[in-house]
C-alpha cells in the first residue's frame, strides 16, 4: 500500500554507496549489541532486556531519516536500534535495562529521543502534542520539526493510537507514525490482534496517507521514512508507515516463545534475515566486500565491549534522586520523607 504523494527534492535522492555502507555498519552494530544484551542478561549483568532480533532494518532505516537538529523521536522499549542510529549514548540507554532508572540515563532533550516508554501507545499522543507545538511555533525556513513515533501491531489496538491518529489528522500535525508490525504482541499473532487487514489500512479512515513497506529492506525503509518526513515537514500533516517485519526472538528475556510458536512457524514467518539480505545486495552491487563486512563486525564488537564495560561500571543511583526528581518544585511532605529516609538509612 502506498497512498503518499511522491516527494521531490532530498527525499527522492538515492542513497550513496557511502550511506549504504554506513547503514550496514549500523545494522551490524545493532545486531551485535542486541545479541550481547541477551547474553548480559544470562550472565547477570542486567536483569532484563527486550530484544529486537530481525527488526534491525526497520529501526536503523527509520532512525536514519531523523534530523536530530529539529526532529524528535518517541520510542517504546524496543527501539535500541533507533537510539543507536541516532547516536544516543548507549551506556546511558542500556541503563534502563540495568534497572538504573526508568526511561534511561541519557538526556532526552539533547539526544532528541524521549525517555524509554513501557506503556505501549503511551507516547504516541505525546508525539502529536510535540508536533502540534512545531506547527504553533513555526519554522523560520518553513520546514517543520517532525515527531517520529514508534509503536507495534499490539499497541495499534489501544485507544490512544486511534486518538493520536485522529488528533494528528485533524490538526495536520507533522507526525510520522512508524508501526513496526513484527507479527507478535508477546504471544498473540497479528491476525488475532489487528482487524481490518493491516494497521496501514486504517490510515485511510483518518484521511491520512500511508505506506505499507517491506520492513526488512533497510533501503526501502530509509526511502519511505524520508518521503514521510518530507511530507510532514512541509506542513502537509501526518503519515503512517507500517513496516512489515518479524520478531525473531522472544518478547523479552523473560519470555518463552516455545509456548506459542514452533521453530518451523518462526522460520516460515521470519523469512530471510534482513542483515544477510542487505549484505548480499551490497556484495552483488559491488558496494562492499568481505573485508568491509569483517571490519564492520570488528567495530561492532569493540563498541559492544565498551558499552558492556560502561554498564558494569554503573553504580546504583543515589537514593536522594528518588525524592529530588519527582517535581521541579518539591513539597514539604516529600522533603520530610527524604529527610526520614536519609536518617533511617544511615542507621541501618
Amino acid at each position: 500500500m502506498d497512498t503518499l504523494p511522491v516527494a521531490a527534492g532530498d527525499a527522492a535522492d538515492p542513497l550513496t554507496p557511502a550511506q549504504l555502507r554506513e547503514l550496514y555498519s549500523l545494522m551490524v552494530a545493532v545486531r551485535h549489541l542486541d545479541a550481547s544484551a541477551i547474553a548480559w542478561q544470562r550472565q547477570g549483568i542486567i536483569p532484563g532486556y527486550a530484544p529486537e532480533l530481525g527488526q534491525e532494518a526497520a529501526q536503523v532505516g527509520s532512525g536514519y531519516a531523523v534530523d536530530t537538529t529539529r526532529d524528535f523521536v518517541f520510542p517504546t522499549y524496543r527501539e535500541m536500534g533507533v537510539a543507536r542510529t541516532m547516536g544516543v549514548d548507549m551506556v546511558a540507554y542500556m541503563a534502563t535495562h540495568k534497572a538504573s532508572w526508568h526511561g534511561g540515563l541519557y538526556d532526552p532533550v539533547k539526544s532528541r529521543l524521549a525517555p524509554i516508554q513501557a506503556v505501549v501507545a503511551g507516547s504516541v499522543l505525546h508525539a502529536v502534542g510535540w508536533a502540534h507545538g512545531q506547527t504553533l511555533a513555526g519554522a523560520a525556513d518553513g520546514k517543520l520539526g517532525v515527531a517520529l513515533t514508534y509503536f507495534g501491531d499490539g499497541a495499534s489496538s489501544q485507544g490512544d493510537v486511534h486518538e493520536a491518529l485522529n488528533f494528528a489528522a485533524v490538526m495536520k500535525a507533522p507526525v510520522v507514525f512508524f508501526v513496526q508490525n513484527n507479527g507478535w504482541a508477546i504471544s498473540v499473532p497479528t491476525e488475532r490482534q489487528v482487524a481490518g487487514g493491516s494497521v496501514a489500512a486504517r490510515a485511510a479512515g483518518y484521511g491520512m496517507p500511508a505506506l505499507q513497506i517491506d520492513g526488512d529492506d533497510v533501503v526501502a525503509v530509509v526511502e519511505a521514512t524520508r518521503r514521510a518526513f518530507a511530507h510532514a515537514r512541509a506542513g502537509n500533516g501526518p503519515v503512517l508507515i507500517e513496516a512489515m517485519t518479524y520478531r525473531r526472538g522472544p518478547h523479552s528475556t523473560s519470555d518463552d516463545p516455545g509456548r506459542y510458536r514452533s521453530l518451523d512457524e518462526e522460520r516460515d514467518g521470519a523469512g530471510a534475515d534482513p542483515l544477510e539480505r542487505f549484505r548480499q545486495r551490497l556484495l552483488a552491487e559491488g558496494i562492499a566486500d568481505e573485508a568491509f563486512f569483517a571490519e564492520a563486525l570488528a567495530a561492532a564488537k569493540a563498541e559492544e565491549e565498551l558499552i558492556r564495560t560502561g554498564i558494569q561500571g554503573l553504580d546504583s543511583r543515589p537514593g536522594t534522586e528518588m525524592f529530588d526528581l519527582v517535581f521541579q518544585e518539591t513539597t514539604p511532605v516529600l522533603q520530610g520523607q527524604a529527610t526520614n529516609w536519609r536518617e533511617e538509612s544511615e542507621h541501618v
Binding site: F72, V119, G122, L125, T331
Partner: protein, 347 residues
C-alpha cells in the same frame, strides 16, 4: 478584561483593585491574564474555543488571543492529556480542560503514567508545567459522571499537585499561581460555586497572609476547627454562623491545596481549638479526610480533646440529582459532626 474600568476608577479614587465578580468571571480573568503574560500558555479542550466552555470559563478567550492559543480538540480526554504532555515537552505551558470530573477517568493513563511521571522519568529534563482544569464536585443536579470528587485519587499519585478554590478571590489567585508552576497541577473547580459572586482583590495575592501553597483561615474560632475545601468551605462558613447562635465558636480552615497539604496550618488551628471535623463531598473510605485526620493527630495528639470527626459523602456511586442533597454533607450533618466532637467523653 476590566483594565479600562480600573484605570478610570484609579484616576478618581486612587488605586482600586477590588472588584465583585463570580467565580466564573474570576477564573476567566485569571486565564486571560495568564495568556497575556505567558506566550507559551495554551488553553484547549472540548468546546472551550468558540463556545467558551460549557461553563463559559474560557468565554471570549479565543476571540481575544486567537485560535492558536485557545482551541477546540476532538472529543477524547486521553488525547487531550497526551497532547498536553507532548506540548509540554515542546516547551509550551498547556492549560487543558477536562469538561467534567467524571471524564478524567478515560484520561487516567495519560495523567498518572505520563503527565505525573515525565519529570521523574526524564530526570528533570522534561518538566510538565501543565495545569489541568477539572470542573469538580457535585451540587448542580447533573447527569451521571458529571459530578465526582476525585481529589483523593489525584492526591495519591506521586508527581501531581492538587488545588481547589473556594470563592472567586481564591479562584483568581490560585489559578494564576497554578498556571505559572513548572509541575503538573490538577485544578479542581467547584462547579456549584461558579456563579456565586464575591470580592476579588486582584492586586493582593494573599491578603490573609501565608504562602501561596498554604491553607487559609476563613473564619476565626475557639471551640473547634472545620477543615474543608472547594464548595464545602462556603457550607462550613454557613454552619459556623448557625453554631455561633448556640454559643459555639467555630474556626473554618480552607485547605486550598490538597497536595501538598499545609500540615503546619492544620496544627496551628487545631492546637488552638483542640477539636476538628473534616468535611468533604467525596466518599468516606480512603478519602482525603483520613489524611487530614492523621496529620491533625500527628500535630496535635497531646492537645486533642476528641478524635477527629469526618462528615463526608457516602461509599456509593455519586447519586442522581434527587438524592444529591442527601449525599453531599448538609448543614445538619455537619452540625451533628460538631456535636460528636464537642460531646466526646474519654472512655
Amino acid at each position: 478584561m476590566s483594565n479600562s474600568m480600573l484605570t478610570t476608577e484609579a484616576a478618581v479614587n486612587g488605586p482600586v483593585t477590588t472588584t465583585v465578580m463570580s467565580m466564573q468571571q474570576a477564573l476567566n480573568r485569571a486565564l486571560d491574564e495568564v495568556l497575556a503574560e505567558n506566550p507559551k500558555a495554551l488553553i484547549f479542550g472540548e468546546d472551550c474555543g468558540r463556545l467558551g466552555g460549557v461553563f463559559r470559563i474560557t468565554d471570549g478567550l479565543q476571540a481575544k488571543h486567537g485560535e492558536q492559543r485557545v482551541f477546540d480538540t476532538p472529543l477524547a480526554e486521553s488525547g487531550i492529556l497526551g497532547m498536553s504532555v507532548g506540548l509540554a515537552m515542546a516547551g509550551f505551558h498547556p492549560i487543558p480542560e477536562v469538561q467534567f470530573d467524571g471524564f478524567a477517568y478515560p484520561a487516567i493513563n495519560q495523567i498518572v503514567c505520563q503527565m505525573a511521571r515525565m519529570n521523574y522519568r526524564s530526570r528533570g529534563t522534561m518538566p510538565m508545567p501543565i495545569t489541568l482544569r477539572v470542573p469538580s464536585f457535585g451540587g448542580i443536579r447533573a447527569p451521571e459522571h458529571h459530578g465526582e470528587s476525585l481529589e483523593a485519587l489525584f492526591a495519591h499519585v506521586p508527581g501531581l499537585k492538587v488545588v481547589s478554590p473556594s470563592n472567586p478571590h481564591e479562584a483568581y489567585h490560585l489559578l494564576k499561581y497554578a498556571a505559572t508552576r513548572p509541575d503538573p497541577v490538577i485544578f479542581m473547580e467547584p462547579k456549584s460555586r461558579y456563579w456565586q459572586k464575591g470580592e476579588v482583590d486582584t492586586a493582593s495575592h494573599d491578603p490573609a497572609g501565608g504562602s501561596p501553597t498554604g491553607a487559609k483561615v476563613m473564619r476565626e474560632g475557639r471551640h473547634l476547627t472545620l477543615v474543608a475545601w472547594g464548595a464545602m468551605v462556603a457550607r462550613c462558613l454557613q454552619v459556623a454562623e448557625l453554631a455561633a447562635e448556640d454559643g459555639i465558636d467555630v474556626e473554618v480552615l480552607d485547605l486550598r491545596w490538597l497536595k501538598p497539604i499545609d500540615a503546619a496550618a492544620l496544627a496551628v488551628s487545631v492546637r488552638k481549638t483542640r477539636r476538628a471535623v473534616v468535611v468533604h463531598e467525596a466518599p468516606l473510605t480512603s478519602g482525603l479526610g483520613a489524611e487530614v485526620a492523621q496529620l491533625i493527630t500527628q500535630g496535635c495528639f497531646d492537645t486533642l480533646k476528641a478524635p477527629v470527626e469526618r462528615v463526608t459523602g457516602f461509599d456509593v456511586p455519586y447519586p442522581s440529582g434527587d438524592l444529591e442533597d442527601e449525599y453531599i454533607p448538609n448543614i445538619d450533618r455537619i452540625l451533628f459532626g460538631i456535636q460528636r466532637v464537642l460531646e466526646y467523653k474519654r472512655g
